[in-house]
Amino acid sequence: MIQNIPLSYFLVISTLMFFIGIYGFLTRRNLITMLMSIELILNSVNINFVAFNRYLYPQHLEGHFFMLIVIAVAAAEAAVAIAIIINIYRNFKSIDVENVDEMKY
């Protein structure tokens, strides 16, 4: 199904997605939207793993398992980050990074 599509097209898409995620991480001021930018970055890395596995080593499974591990780490990271964000909201009544400027409360 991908005979006429070179590998570099997938890499271009994932590179652009990675840097869009970095742009969002730099410009957003809300903790949840920053978390969403991180999800974009992790997702672009997954595309790279899977595309390399499909094009260069189709008889191996390394890319599959790297992608599954990255997804597991992303799920764990999202759960812990959201717990921290909800705790911050309880203490500061806001989740903008500008307002959260002290560690002790």
């Binding site: 199904m1 991908i2 005979q3 006429n4 599509i5 070179p6 590998l7 570099s8 097209y9 890499l11 271009v12 898409i13 590179t15 652009l16 997605m17 840097f19 869009i20 970095i22 742009y23 730099l26 410009t27 957003r28 001021r29 809300n30 949840i32 939207t33 969403m36 930018s37 999800e39 974009l40 997702n43 997954n46 595309i47 899977v50 499909r54 094009y55 260069l56 080593y57 189709p58 008889q59 499974l61 599959h64 398992f65 992608m67 599954l68 591990i69 597991a72 780490v73 799920a75 764990a76 999202a78 759960a79 812990v80 959201i82 717990a83 909800i86 309880r90 989740i95 903008d96 500008e98």
Partner: protein
């Protein structure tokens, strides 16, 4: 021909919705755009004939993480609220840095010629993936599987402890 059209369509969807995810001022809409990005990525995996990975992407990412994010948005912000963004100067500088990084990486990628493996379409079944996931031989991945499970357990317990309401001593 049809494949190329599908690929360009999915690629355009991914890029457009990624940009909307990081620029939308409404947080809930940004989360829905993120959902579209993740679903289009599952489309890419389907194009590569990796059905299991596409299914995992749809269930864990699009089904699990996005729902978690939407829940936390509803818990922490009002729907009519607009997200605060960086100042114009900060946005311009970040865009400049991002463009420089993207240009450098794209030039490097496009200059290198990858030689694809001339093998035929691999007929992977879920049985193959499952067997190699729990085997400890040369092509087995039992250790990363166990590490991921312990990591998930620790993360879930940690999330519960962090998000738990603290009981004050007086009550």
């Amino acid at each position: 021909m049809v494949n190329e059209v599908m690929f360009y369509l999915i690629g355009a969807m991914i890029l457009i919705f990624s940009v909307l995810t990081v620029t939308s001022r409404r947080i809930l809409r940004a989360a829905v755009y993120l959902l579209f990005v993740l679903i289009s990525t599952a489309g890419l995996y389907f194009m590569m004939n990796y059905n299991f990975l596409a299914a995992v992407q749809l269930t864990v990412y699009a089904g699990g993480i996005v729902v978690l994010i939407i829940f936390s948005i509803l818990l922490t912000s009002h729907l009519s609220e607009r997200a605060a963004m960086a100042t114009v100067k900060q946005s311009l500088l970040s865009a400049l840095a991002t463009l420089a990084g993207a240009t450098l990486t794209l030039m490097t990628i496009l200059r290198f010629s990858f030689i694809p493996n001339p093998g035929t379409d691999p007929q992977l079944t879920i049985t193959d993936i499952g067997n190699s996931l729990v085997s400890y031989n040369r092509d087995g991945y039992a250790l990363p599987f166990e590490v991921a499970s312990v990591l998930l357990l620790a993360a879930m317990i940690g999330a519960i402890v962090v998000a738990k309401k603290e009981r004050t001593l007086k009550q």
